[in-house]
């Protein structure tokens, strides 16, 4: 897993190296200090040599200063490396997501992609940073302390033979026990958050049906589960410290017992004995630190896996078979016996054997019941999804022949669930064409019937929309989205039920503007209301994934039972927007 993420340290590897060197040498310096102290206690004091004591003291201060610089260096370098790595990783993921097809995006949910980009990346950058500071420091500390301890007294160092394995086994047992607890802890946390989130977005439903108690009960169960799981997990984690204490002090006591005869025999000085205690603490502390790092790594690996999933996801729609120079010649659209299903494993086709031919410049209406796959049909045109069978052609060529950039520049689509971004109205419109002049923008807004309300706004095109376009109404939002799509000057313009929140008169005005201002553009309009498509050159009636009928209004009134049915149902009352 770590190997997979290593490439993303590019550009920061020298900081990793420097950081590691700094923290390693800092650890060594820190350990040499007690040795110098032992000199003072064992040589300085008995001899009464003030000069010697002061010299050694100065050496200690100097060493501490060096060690401080190294420590600060380690902090600075590890921050650089960690943050750099995190930034690389975020960017790489984000860039890769840009290549995702709709299907790729749907495979991960939006929320999970956000988590992977935010929390998971932060966790990983933190792990690298802390890892550089501690992961190096701990083993260096361990080894040097051991070496120094042995150099003081080989005999006494034998206590480590018992203490170290004992501590490792105990910690290992805890870690082994705790790590599955932490993954279930994460699940419990997710459960609680999901309950809150759904409650928030459905608060009107909850209140309307007086389900507050039911919701509280649902929450109570999850909250209880979270509490008991955390209590169990953390209850185990807190055993770390006392165990560490017991082993450390046990070792110190053993060293005193075995060390006393050595002191008596003159083999060991008292100062060195005290230094030995320090090394015991350091050795065992390093082991604890290693175990803590291990736990952090376990958590980081889970994050790394999730991040790697995004990075490994193969975009299923690519420019692989495209010829870069080919652009869309005209706005003709052809479906040659196209079949499509969202889920490859599913038996049911969402679109079955669609054979449909649209000439450039035509206005095409698509009508059909809920779930008849109207949206699915048009989404194949800009290659948002890939048909499993048959060929979709635009401008006479299969859509796979064009680069996605050329294809989607030529095929402009207003999605049913549309998004405006934070920023001004102008900034949002420029998405259609970043070089659009004010006149272009005005013309597009005029055509989309957006100009009138934009002009009424105090700041006109510079009005701030707020996140997700919260500052405009549903109908205004739809008109802005249409204007944005028109600005692209596409060969094919697709409106997926994009005027549902716009009143009939405005809807008619928009359609009239399409006729006069975009005569050469193929216009494909999905609508609920027959009046929106009545005057189209071709009306396609979809039913359960098939083209049930196609023709002009007059023809369909003659031949299509479904169409007549819908028409009559809508004639019973004019439709208004309210």
């Amino acid at each position: 897993m770590m190997k997979k993420l290593w490439p993303y340290t590019r550009g920061y590897r020298k900081w990793i190296l420097f950081g590691v060197l700094c923290s390693a040498s800092e650890a060594v310096f820190e350990l040499l200090l007690p040795l110098v102290m032992a000199d003072i206690v064992d040589t300085g004091i008995p001899s009464g040599d003030t000069g010697y004591i002061l010299a050694r003291g100065a050496l200690m201060v100097l060493m501490a200063l060096v060690s401080m610089s190294l420590g600060i260096g380690s902090a600075v370098f590890s921050s650089r490396a960690g943050q750099g790595f995190g930034a690389n990783l975020r960017q790489a993921q984000y860039d890769h997501i840009q290549d995702f097809s709709f299907r790729n995006i749907e495979k991960f949910s939006t929320a999970s992609l956000v988590t992977r980009l935010t929390n998971d990346c932060n966790m990983l950058q933190m792990s690298l940073m802390m890892g550089m500071r501690l992961l190096v420091r701990a083993p260096v500390m361990l080894v040097s302390a051991l070496v120094l301890a042995v150099s003081i007294s080989l005999k006494l160092s034998r206590v480590f033979l018992v203490a170290m394995p004992l501590l490792l086994v105990l910690i290992g047992l805890i870690v082994k026990h705790v790590s599955p607890m932490f993954s279930s802890l994460q699940e419990r946390t997710d459960d609680v958050n999901l309950a809150v989130q759904e409650n928030l977005s459905g608060i009107r439903v909850v209140k309307s049906f007086v389900r507050e108690d039911y919701e509280e009960e649902k929450f109570r169960k999850r909250n209880d589960a979270l509490r008991s799981t955390s209590e169990r997990a953390f209850g185990f984690v807190v055993m770390n410290m006392p165990i560490m204490m017991l082993v450390t002090y046990g070792t110190i006591i053993a060293v005193m017992w075995y060390g006393a005869p050595l002191v008596q025999a003159g083999e060991l000085e008292v100062g060195l004995l005290s230094t030995f205690f320090t090394y015991i603490t350091q050795v065992l502390m390093s082991l604890i630190m290693v175990s803590m790092i291990m736990m952090m790594i376990t958590r980081a690996i889970a994050c790394a896996k999730r991040v790697a999933e995004v990075l490994d996801e193969v975009p299923d729609i690519t420019d692989a078979s495209a010829s870069p120079g080919v652009t869309v010649a005209d706005g003709s659209v052809d479906f040659d016996h196209v079949s499509f299903k969202y889920n490859d494993g599913s038996e049911k086709w969402n679109l079955r054997d669609i054979d449909l031919h649209i000439k450039s410049g035509m206005t095409v209406g698509v009508i059909g019941g809920t779930g008849s796959a109207k949206s699915t049909l048009v989404q194949l045109i800009p290659r948002l999804y890939e048909a499993q069978e048959g060929t979709v052609r635009v401008g006479g060529r299969p859509v796979q022949d064009y680069t996605m950039e050329h294809l989607r520049d030529a095929v402009s689509m207003v999605l049913q669930k549309n998004t405006l971004f934070s920023g001004t109205i102008r900034e949002n419109l420029l998405w259609g064409d970043e070089n659009a002049s004010d006149a272009d923008i005005e013309a597009a807004c005029e055509a989309a019937c957006a100009a009138e309300f934009i002009h009424r706004m105090p700041e006109g095109y510079d009005t701030d929309l707020g996140q997700g376009g919260v500052n405009v109404s549903g109908g205004q939002k739809q008109r802005l989205c249409i204007a944005r799509a028109i600005l692209k000057k596409p060969r094919v313009l697709i409106l997926d039920d994009s005027t549902s929140a716009v009143d009939t008169a405005t809807d008619a005005k928009i359609r009239a503007a399409f006729r006069t201002q975009l005569p050469d553009t193929t216009k494909i309009i999905i609508a609920q209301r027959i009046i929106s498509v009545m005057d189209a050159d071709l009306i396609v009636v979809m039913d359960d994934g098939r083209v049930a009928d196609a023709g002009t209004h007059e023809e369909l009134m003659e031949t299509s039972e479904i169409y007549r049915d819908v028409y009559q149902s809508q004639q019973e009352g004019a439709s208004i927007d309210g």
């Binding site: 201060v61 190294l70 935010t118």
Partner: protein, 630 residues
């Protein structure tokens, strides 16, 4: 049309994503007081923790002190029996210390989990009682982060932070006392380096905090950008905007990297700085101690012990200095949580309740023990008024925000069993009227009565139970399709669920789903179309079988053909009920008993279809296509 989407002002700063700016608590004392209320519920356990902490500190300081008699009286003279006794004694002290430490940590896990469990529970319960206007003015992200960020930080602090703070202070006090006892002169050296540490903490800490704030701001921006762009990823693809999105992200990503590098460098430098000041202190103490030992005969044991204490004394200081930021952050978080809890709840002082009744032959009503076909209002004095569905508005004035009046003195009446329709432009106040019937909002003046009872006198729970609402924006919960329909009536049988689905014509598409009624829905039913979700919402209302029904654009996303298919179902759903209908298709409202045409918060026309056509007013114009609503 989307009046249900009406939201109050969303300030640009209202978004509470994962990376909010660093905030200091406003009223620390009050927050801590409330917090103590939660922890205080385990006061005996806390007392035990305090005792354990004190004993543990005594043990660990005492344990170190034992080194002096060990060295001076046992090892140096070579008194082995005494050495053995002292070592056993020491072992006992350390075992006690370890047990004590485990005990208080374990108890704190329990105490803190219990407290945060209670806080989460209370916060959620509170959320259920908040008026809708609160949700209009606060984003979901903001409320979510109360649970995710704020309570999490709080748990962490309660579980570890508090203990290390208290034990830090105790250790510090204890160690200082021992140091003074061992050698007041050496203590001067210690005071010097402790002062140095404080200076470093102050200066570095101040700059570090500034960098930290910059980091939080940039992090917030990165996260905000990620959320917004990933949310709109499909639009990005449709507009070939990928490279722009990359560049935009890179800019923010790099800015965050820079500020975070600064902040983390400073924060990370703190530890080695403190650690090495403590080493310098150690070196100085060592020198001075050695000189003292030569000049004044300070015993070796005391010096060794003092040196041990020198290591211990600086630990609490760096510990506390590291905790201060997170403790402040946790308190600020707790404050935000408690702020939500202190928001005044929905007013609900009504005492009239909804009860099941049975009607005796003579027409007198008796309250039924279980379910029955009849409903009645039970007034506080025990009087039973049959529920008929008679809703009246008298001069109702209402505004969501003080600046803008939405309804200007609306009067209307719906007789039992009538179908009342509202027609009008966006913002005319149609949805508002239905929001007032079920008292989602409080009216400014005027009176709304339900079967002659002021709705304010009816318990909200009863009021809403009597009304079934199908909202335009359907919300589905994670669970099966059947679970979602059953939300209308929790104890509905499978057959009732199916019948409701058939009524709403949802049965057809449900049976096409891989697992039929047991199909698992996630993500607010993201895999279903708007129309399918609305059918489920209708089924949900149907299974609830309420006396009064409100349909707010309930069929707006259902195509007319399907709408005709469910018409029969809708008719039987609406039969013998008072129904309020908001629709933008005149076909949906045409057969209503009374149609109200609303304009800018006023009813400008009323009557049935034929009356209104005969009047030749706005409705006539709409119907004949001479006028349009915007």
């Amino acid at each position: 049309m989307a009046e249900t989407k009406r939201r109050g002002p969303h300030g640009p700063g209202g978004h509470g994503g994962p990376g909010r700016g660093f905030q200091k608590p406003k009223d620390t004392r009050k927050t801590i007081g409330t917090l103590m209320g939660y922890i205080g519920r385990s006061k005996w356990l806390l007392l035990l923790v305090a005792v354990c902490l004190v004993l543990n500190t005594v043990c660990s300081i005492g344990g170190s002190y034992m080194l002096r008699p060990l060295i001076d009286d046992c090892i140096v003279p070579g008194d082995y029996p005494r050495l053995a006794r002292t070592l056993v004694f020491m072992a006992c002290i350390y075992i006690c210390a370890a047990l004590l430490s485990y005990t208080y940590s374990r108890i704190m896990v329990r105490v803190s989990q219990k407290a945060t469990h209670a806080i989460r529970r209370d916060l959620f319960a509170k959320m259920q009682n908040l008026p809708l206007s609160y949700f209009d003015t606060h984003t979901h992200g903001e409320l979510m982060s109360r649970y995710t960020n704020d309570i999490d930080t709080l748990t962490e602090i309660l579980q570890n932070g508090m203990i290390s703070l208290v034990s830090g202070v105790l250790t510090f006090v204890g160690v200082v006392a021992m140091m003074l006892y061992l050698s007041p002169i050496l203590f001067l050296v210690t005071v010097f380096s402790l002062g140095l540490m404080l200076v470093v903490i102050m200066t570095v800490g101040k700059r570090s905090r500034r960098y930290f704030m910059a980091q939080q701001k940039d992090l917030g921006e990165v996260n905000g950008y990620i959320e917004e762009m990933i949310e709109g990823q499909k639009v990005i693809k449709v507009f070939n905007h990928e490279s722009k999105a990359r560049a935009g992200f890179q800019e923010r990503n790099v800015r965050y990297r820079r500020s975070a590098t600064n902040a983390q460098s400073f924060a990370g430098a703190m530890m080695p700085a403190m650690g090495n000041i403590s080493h310098i202190n150690y070196a100085l103490t060592c020198c001075v101690g050695a000189l003292l030992s030569i000049a004044f005969g300070l015993d070796l044991g005391s010096l060794v012990v003092y040196l041990q204490y020198t290591r211990q004394v600086s630990q609490p200081i760096s510990q506390v200095s590291q905790q201060v930021n997170s403790i402040l952050a946790a308190i600020a978080g707790a404050e935000r949580v408690f702020e939500v809890m202190e928001t005044p709840p929905e007013v609900d002082e009504g005492r009239t309740t909804l009860v099941h009744v049975t009607r005796a032959a003579g027409g007198s009503l008796t309250e039924a023990a279980g379910r029955s076909d009849g409903w009645a209002w039970k007034k506080p004095d025990g009087e039973l008024v049959p529920l008929r569905g008679d809703v009246r508005f008298q001069d109702v004035v209402f505004r969501y925000v003080p600046e803008k009046t939405i309804l200007h003195g609306i009067s209307l009446y719906a007789k039992p069993g009538q179908k009342i329709a509202f027609v009008g432009s966006t913002g005319a106040g149609k949805t508002t009227i239905t929001n007032l019937i079920n008292r989602f909002y409080e009216i400014e003046s005027g009176l709304i009565t339900y079967d002659g009872i002021d709705v304010r006198d009816i318990r909200k729970e009863s009021l809403r139970r009597s009304l079934g609402i199908v909202l335009q924006d359907t919300h589905l919960f994670t669970g099966t399709i059947a679970d979602n329909i059953r939300y209308g009536k929790l104890d509905a049988t499978d057959e009732e669920v199916r019948a409701a689905a058939r009524l709403a014509n949802a049965d057809t598409f449900i049976s096409h789903l891989p697992d039929g009624y047991d199909t698992w829905i996630t993500d607010d039913g993201g895999s279903l179309s708007q129309g399918e979700r609305q059918l489920l919402a209708i089924a949900r209302a149907a299974v609830a079988d309420p006396p009064v029904l409100i349909l707010d654009e309930a069929t707006s996303s259902i195509d007319t053909r399907t709408e005709r298919l469910i018409e029969k179902g809708m008719d039987s759903l609406m039969a013998d009920r008072t129904v309020f209908v908001i629709a933008h298709r005149l076909s949906t409202v045409r057969n209503s008993k009374a149609i109200m045409v609303l304009e800018q918060g006023e009813i400008i026309e009323r009557g049935d279809h034929d009356d209104l056509i005969a009047q030749g007013g706005k409705y006539y114009q709409l119907y004949t296509g001479q006028a349009e609503l915007s």
